[in-house]
Symmetry: C2
Subunit: 285 residues, 2 copies
DNA sequence: CGGGAACTTGATAGAGCTCAAGCGTGGTGG
DNA sequence: CCACCACGCTTGAGCTCTATCAAGTTCCCG
């Protein structure tokens, strides 16, 4: 089923929140970032004037499974991912989760809390994480120090708005295969942005979480990944992914029927034919 | 099919962008709004200090079908709906539209353009509209005059983020019936906010546009509305809607099978039974 | 009054969900 | 260090919901 051996893939998958090979100080995480570091993380051009060390932002460690903020919790803080992977979910009146995003390095989250003075989402660490805490008051104060910087901050909010619109477009109009394909490409892009390989990486979330995010069941996600694997678009083994044809994944709308699928199709057609014939009066010689 | 006569419904549906009965000056629209009026529209508390007449925002008229901004157009302006109804769409690489919102009175739009310096969406008037133009520079300048006001402005962006998350939740996890039901309730809420009736109103968009927004086909929307009408949850006649049981619509997950549906179900089951019996060896007396 | 767009309704098919069973893997405790 | 267990993943079979295709009807606008 796999075109590449597991060990080959895994050996090259070192991005993400791992403590192997780091010194003690780094493993424990740094404690503070200044404004310039924060801007770099958020991909705000730091050529902007007047960025100094006036502001320091505290870091905080979260273990896998811990919640950074919960629904209904009073809002007073924004968060930036320094390292690690998380998921942001909303929960409806009957307790069902809906994943609305997978924050990772450089992503700002918690903005949903500004309106209404409390968070409407809940963000959970999928791996051990290091998060930069940005009190909303400081956030506002920083904007006031510099007009360009302020515009850039609005730009970060806007980026999130656009990201969500893209997801709406995906959920509203694409087939399961296209959704999964684009999800892989979007992960690829984000890993590439972070300086890791965009071609091979480990998924940080379960099939269940991917499916929830894409409006699909975990079985459909699993089947779709297997189908991509079978036609050589990707290699999958559990969480390990290799993308073999990113352009094709980008534009994929529906997978051409594979041989296995063709067989199933044929079998189905044959069955239907047989049923039809049974319904017709049979002339017995 | 309709529980209420058309004329009864229509007679009460006077909200929205209509020029009947208004004087000349109003029909042509006012030309400028000051900051206080803009804040009121955006539902920003105006108890805030220091809101004066320093800023004036120009109005602009759009006829039904006209575009307020288009995809790729350089960004330098935000827009607030003063009156009328619009739709905001994204367009994918193969030219398919996806409706991501229906801006109406008091809604801010165009924020997707901040990031990337050009609009990623296109907003089209569904009726004649009056739009307040807010140059992004002024928008920033207003925030700088007053800290509370600035927080409120971020709140408006955040509100939009939350609205989109809600839509993601709807698209990701609800049945067609639940999607349509919640869509009606959300329209109801917004009409009520605007001071109109939340119980009866006219849809301003086609079935096609509703379906596109909800990730459904126009036929499914039409059938679902008819089904709601049949069980007495609502009355529908073309664009005219009366909601008879808003709480039920709010929590609806799946419609209990109606008599017609039950008949179809029974017929189907019977057919399946018949097919089964045919497959079994028949003992002929 | 005519033409086109919007809407309704029906029949049918297929994509994806549900239910179910089995397997791999990583973590844990003896 | 090994064995076990729970969780995540895969795969299969059947069914359901919704899309698709196809007429008709109504309404609105010129």
């Amino acid at each position: 089923m796999l075109n590449t051996s597991n060990s080959d893939i895994r050996a090259n998958l070192s991005q993400g929140n791992t403590s192997r090979g780091l010194g003690l100080a780094q493993r424990q995480g740094k404690l503070w970032s200044n404004l310039k570091e924060v801007c770099d993380l958020l991909r705000i051009p730091t050529a902007l004037s007047g960025i100094g060390d006036d502001y320091q932002f505290q870091h905080m460690q979260f273990k896998s499974g811990q919640r950074v903020h919960t629904i209904g919790q009073p809002f007073d803080m924004l968060y930036i991912v320094y390292s690690g992977f998380l998921k942001t979910v909303i929960i409806d009146e009957s307790g069902n989760e809906q994943v609305v995003g997978f924050p990772m390095k450089g992503d700002l989250f918690g903005m949903d809390g500004i309106h209404g003075k409390q968070y409407s989402t809940e963000t959970v660490a999928l791996s051990n994480c290091e998060i930069i805490l940005v009190p909303f008051k400081s956030f506002l104060a920083v904007g006031r120090t510099n007009a360009e910087l302020e515009a850039a901050i609005y730009g970060v909010l806007s980026r999130e708005l656009v990201r969500e619109q893209l997801l709406i477009g995906t959920l509203g109009s694409l087939s399961a295969e296209a959704r999964v394909a684009r999800f892989l490409v979007s992960l690829s892009d984000r890993f590439a942005d972070m300086g890791y390989s965009g071609k091979q990486f480990n998924l940080r979330m379960t099939r269940q979480e991917i499916g929830n995010y894409l409006g699909l069941t975990l079985e459909t996600v699993s089947r779709t990944l297997s189908a991509f694997n079978d036609v050589g678009l990707i290699s999958v083994d559990q969480r390990a992914i290799v993308l073999h044809d990113i352009p094709a994944l980008k534009t994929l709308r529906r997978l051409p029927p594979s041989q296995v699928r063709a067989k199933q199709q044929a079998a189905k057609a044959a069955r239907a034919e047989a049923a039809k014939r049974e319904e017709e009066p049979v002339i017995v010689g």
